[in-house]
Symmetry: C2
Subunit: 339 residues, 2 copies
DNA sequence: CTGTTAGCGCATTCAG
DNA sequence: CTGAATGCGCTAACAG
């Protein structure tokens, strides 16, 4: 069903049909209604490819994410999807599995797909070859979750948030506070969060034990259990994300420790599921859906303006410390265990 | 960067460049390498829209899902995404929030987007207007999770799986087994699972208490707590999905009941997170990622064959009862509470 | 307000 | 094996 057929059936020119759809005001109400009726009868749908080819705009946004198996990114993608539809955009998501080569391949793929702009979560903006390519191509893009002075980003103050969380734990009486993270090298967020932990500990005048670094994708419960064995085990764990926090709670359970009585656990991300857990997850909540929404809006704005986004367009969204049940006061006997 | 530029730079015709990419054999190795080199130097990427317009194939699949906030669908989409990339397809996902009007709008949107095929999870295939429209359009499609005799589906035997789960609970000594479900009317899966529950109860010669039906999206923990209050409360809960199971566990906790000691809970879906919870979720695991993968493969096959999929192409994938820690033997005093 | 026409970038005839 | 020419469906000048 093409515009030609509609024009013929309605007894008007193709230009009129096109106008009736794209500039309803530039056409007589009578002819507009005629065209609309015929189009409906013929079940006409404008061909997106032809339009894209002609206008050089696809009204499609590429989305590059590490994985959908982490609810954080699923929530973000949901936010992106909703905002995109609302703005008249389609989205083309690709997952990278935290792999650099996949990041590059994804960008390549999406550029070939004629996307008008890209939203991406990369491992590390500083070292991403994909971003170089993007800037060279001049396609508008925005980073989500990442934070970097040279790129437009939508993110939260991870470092400050974690430092604050550490302070809260200190106020609860904890002294031996450890941090659990995924592979540091694989994520700038992890690095920022770790810095926040170090800062928080320093400000409290506490010595920070070595980072507990576990492989990203794997369950890593075994490794976590090992950390909880020593006599001078931590009384509180700051986890770099909610998935790790959940696994840490499991590791505690397997090690015979009760959460929060024997061990306090704080997560990071604020996945919705955390609120339904038992104990409800105490976590630093990011506005995941909003991060997606703002990314879309920023991008749509830039596209409409016909220019790429600059680093100074970056948005720092508010985070919130979400109080759950996985944190409690440090117990006396825990302190004793430390001495 | 167009094919024209590459042709000019390489000193050949556009036809040769096109052939060098699409039919490498139909061109001299020498010219092929020349073209490839020039293309690389010029950073040439074939324009997807132009190709689609010309070939009438977009190599894009539409995906219609209820939500990404349920990890089940996020896992499925991940499977779809991976299989799509592997098969040279892009995906265009749209979420419907379990709303019928959104289902229709989504299909409309995707058809306009020139997708070669669609994967969809609808509320109920029997009543879906979206499917009518799809069949009329002659576009290949496949339903995921849904199960219906008149449509091509990739799913599991939900009814049998739940009946089996009930049997297992009975063998653990449970007699008072209730089912918790989302809005029945909003999902054929929920209906099938409920039938499985009824069958399992009947086969065990047990009376099935009224279905505990809670609104889908909401947390519903309060409603669940109410169900656990009566003296003749159930000793086991069969939940229509893992999210409900997680909330049920929380509701039990808030009601002062221990899982699994006071209450056994079985879920349905097999979300990855379930294994990391404490207690680890006992659930009927669906191969979510595989459901996505098979949907893509079936569709790709049909598209290659130039025909729509028939209902008899449906796939029934194996499910697995995943033993966790949220189920235990019924206790004596529980039985006492029932008398 | 409406019609005619060119061309977006590519794949594909048909000649050579 | 390669080149010239056509048209996929649409929008944007331009002409009337």
């Amino acid at each position: 069903m093409s515009i030609q057929a509609v024009a013929a059936q309605a007894g008007v020119s193709v230009a009129t049909v096109s106008r009736a759809f794209n500039f309803p005001d530039k056409v007589t109400p009578a002819t507009r209604e005629l065209v609309e009726r015929v189009a409906r009868e013929l079940n006409y749908l404008p061909n997106a490819s032809a339009r894209t080819l002609r206008t050089q705009r696809s009204r499609t946004l590429g989305v590059v994410l590490p994985t959908l198996l982490n609810p954080t990114f699923a929530e973000c993608l949901q936010g992106i999807a909703r905002a995109a539809v609302a703005g008249g955009y389609a989205i083309l998501p690709v997952t990278t599995g935290y792999r650099l080569d996949e990041e590059e391949r994804a960008v390549q793929l999406l550029l070939a797909g004629n996307v008008d702009g890209l939203i991406l979560v990369v491992s590390n903006p500083s070292t991403s070859a994909a971003l170089q390519r993007l800037q060279a191509a001049g396609v508008p893009y925005v980073l989500a979750y990442n934070r970097h002075a040279d790129h437009p980003c939508v993110s939260v103050d991870s470092e400050g948030a974690v430092a604050d969380a550490v302070t809260r734990l200190v106020l609860l009486g904890h002294r031996r506070i450890a941090m659990v993270s995924g592979t540091l090298a694989a994520s700038d967020r992890a690095q920022q969060r770790y810095r926040g932990y170090q800062r928080g500990m320093a400000e409290a005048g506490l010595a920070a034990p070595p980072l507990v670094e576990v492989p990203f994708v794997e369950t890593a419960v075994d490794a976590l259990c090992a950390e909880l064995r020593p006599r001078s085990r931590p009384t509180a764990l700051v986890c770099s994300n909610d998935l790790l926090a959940i696994r840490s709670i499991r590791a505690a359970h397997l090690s015979g420790l009760a959460v929060p009585d024997d061990l306090s656990v704080v997560g990071f991300d604020g996945i919705a599921l955390g609120e339904d857990l038992t104990p409800a997850l105490t976590t630093i909540a990011q506005p995941n859906s909003d991060i997606g929404r703002h990314s879309v809006e920023l991008l749509a704005q830039a596209i409409a303006g016909g220019r790429a986004l600059q680093a100074d367009a970056s948005l720092l969204l508010p985070h919130a410390f979400r109080d759950g049940e996985s944190c409690a006061n440090a117990r006396e006997d825990n302190d004793a265990a430390l001495s």
